[in-house]
Symmetry: C2
Subunit: 358 residues, 2 copies
């Protein structure tokens, strides 16, 4: 398990823990990693808010590091090094670093160079938590590379860095999130810690069996020469159509946002989201403040009320001060329906700035 995706062949059942989706695994690892307020966990901003919530719940401290929007939401290694140093100077034990790749909500795909730099920037062993639940990559120049694969290809001491990677069926093929299936795989974890982790997992009984089955099917798709040709043909056809649609819609979202008034968007390279930036007018910001809500929340609420289109304000994920974004998915299918949705969104956007023009 895990081998095919990571393209290396040394996984062991002893290092694989089945979970009710990736979120449960993240909770269990953070439960183990955080001992007190002095334990810091590095989290990318914008982030999937599960992380901030769980770190608060476990009583640790979140150490944010900022993804670089002009560099297509890539990691700025200088900023990362600065954040680690600053956290240490403030007396925190930096215990772990979360990486979400492909990104949620930002849709970027890390380059091998970027992954290597992240690993290299630690002179001592910080646990890397690699949230790798999206395998959809749309951009021609990009490919998904697991942290485990890159780590393994590096020399000592980096290849012995502690790493736990997370996978899920929620984004397997069609968004089977309700089944709650997934797994995490540990690499180079200290044997005593691994033993304690096994114990911790054992308290919580098994993950649900249908989710386990879904996980098996996801990592073990029909193979030519093993299954009947017609099974493999059908699988490849359906998979191709689904991925093809996601890719087409990812490109459509990027193009649409970059021609929309006061809106810009990095290229959606992977995952299932666009995270366009909205350059709100002063009158819109003022109107939001009068209602006592965040400006991006104000924009998104107007949108859902006018058009029925649900998006998530960027303030829910974190963003640089004074910047505003929202998250939208490319799952709307078929593509003609996504087109119609974006047409409504564009019309709303024009009307919004007609009203709040200054």
């Amino acid at each position: 398990m895990g081998n095919q995706r990571d393209s290396i062949g040394d996984s062991s059942a002893h290092n694989i823990y089945l979970t009710n989706g990736a979120s449960e695994g993240v909770r269990q690892v953070l439960n183990m990693a955080i001992r007190s307020k002095e334990d810091g966990i590095m989290v990318p901003i914008p982030q999937y808010p599960l992380y901030s919530a769980l770190i608060t719940l476990q009583g640790g401290t979140m150490v944010p590091y900022y993804l670089d929007e002009p560099k297509n939401w890539g990691l700025d290694i200088k900023d990362l090094e600065y954040r680690v140093k600053k956290a240490k100077d403030e007396g925190l034990n930096v215990r772990s670093m979360v990486v979400i790749n492909p990104g949620n909500p930002t849709g970027q795909v890390l380059t091998e160079q970027n992954i290597r730099e992240i690993i290299l920037c630690y002179e001592n062993s910080i646990l890397i938590m690699a949230d790798e639940v999206y395998k959809n990559v749309y951009s021609e120049g990009s490919q998904f590379l697991s942290f485990r694969k890159v780590l393994n290809g590096m020399g000592a001491p980096y290849k012995d860095n502690e790493l736990i990677s997370f996978h899920s069926i929620s984004k397997g093929l069609m968004g089977e999130c309700g089944l709650r299936g997934g797994y995490m795989e540990t690499h180079n974890i200290d044997p005593f810690v691994e033993e304690m982790f096994y114990k911790l997992k054992s308290i919580e009984l098994c993950s649900n069996t249908i989710g386990q089955l879904g996980t098996l099917l996801m990592i073990n798709p029909p193979k030519r020469g093993v299954e009947a040709d017609e099974v493999v043909d059908l699988y490849e056809k359906e998979q191709g159509e689904i991925y093809g649609g996601l890719k087409e819609r990812a490109k459509m979202l990027t193009a649409t946002f970059n021609k929309m008034e006061r809106t810009s968007c990095s290229e959606i390279q992977g995952a299932m989201y666009g995270f366009p930036r909205i350059h709100l007018t002063q009158s819109a910001i003022k109107a939001a403040k009068e209602q006592g809500v965040q400006p991006d929340f104000f924009y998104c609420m107007q949108m859902v009320n006018e058009t029925g289109i649900m998006t998530v304000p960027g303030s829910g994920f974190g963003q640089r001060d004074g910047e505003f974004h929202y998250r939208i998915t490319n799952l709307v299918s078929p593509t003609s329906e996504m087109r119609a949705t974006l047409d409504r969104l564009e019309a709303f956007n024009s009307e919004f700035y007609a009203k709040y023009s200054q």
Copy 2:
């Protein structure tokens, strides 16, 4: 939901939280209830070991209270009062009390009198956690009564006591434990606490949808006049056969253990287990000590090695010092297979005491 089992009609969706089985709900409630080592949670001994493990994990203190084997594992209210007082004298905040009814591993069913006494014994508000996942009752004089029903029937201030009850499909009809479905229902919880609990639950995404479906089917079985007669007939026939078999085997277990050498067993009134006491000889205890294991563990290991029958040593659940038990299930089906299993167990027991006679 929950109404039919509790036989009262005022459940609200706002008080019901779906879970991946009861264990997850218990974890979430203990997460909320325990703030520090000074927070005590009362747990029956013998207990389902989930409780001790989770209390340790959350950093609280377990306050054991002992079930009374000669009174068919009923609650000894005098002991309970003594334990609460002792815990308070030691500076603990007694925050919650766990009750498992019908009992695991002990198979008893609490009487209404017993439930009323438990509720009455608190002059101030201690949260009752009612683990009510077993609805199987075998004993003619017994019936399942939910804490919620009894609480509601009592006058103020008792009917306003805080209560959270847990249910699960794991023991619904055939042991559908792998599906991980269940729910918990809150009663009289302080509105601020309820709000925080809702937030806590929201971090963890939804429970798996197949488990949700199973839960719906469990609490909403086919009804005459609503579903077709043949559906209701088939359901009642199959349910009757399953419960009939469990009941027959519960009686068989009790009878067999009480005629076996150096073994005694309270009447199995409900749930899915017998918890026979074994009166080990000094030579058996000595042999166990030489191996560095608990005497009941020694007995159970010999049993599984000789016969293939898996049981759980009483030391895993907690028991009074110097007493030894093991847990065995009545799920072995058909009943003829259970009979054959018990014959093998009886033969093993005789051989064991032939070897360790002194």
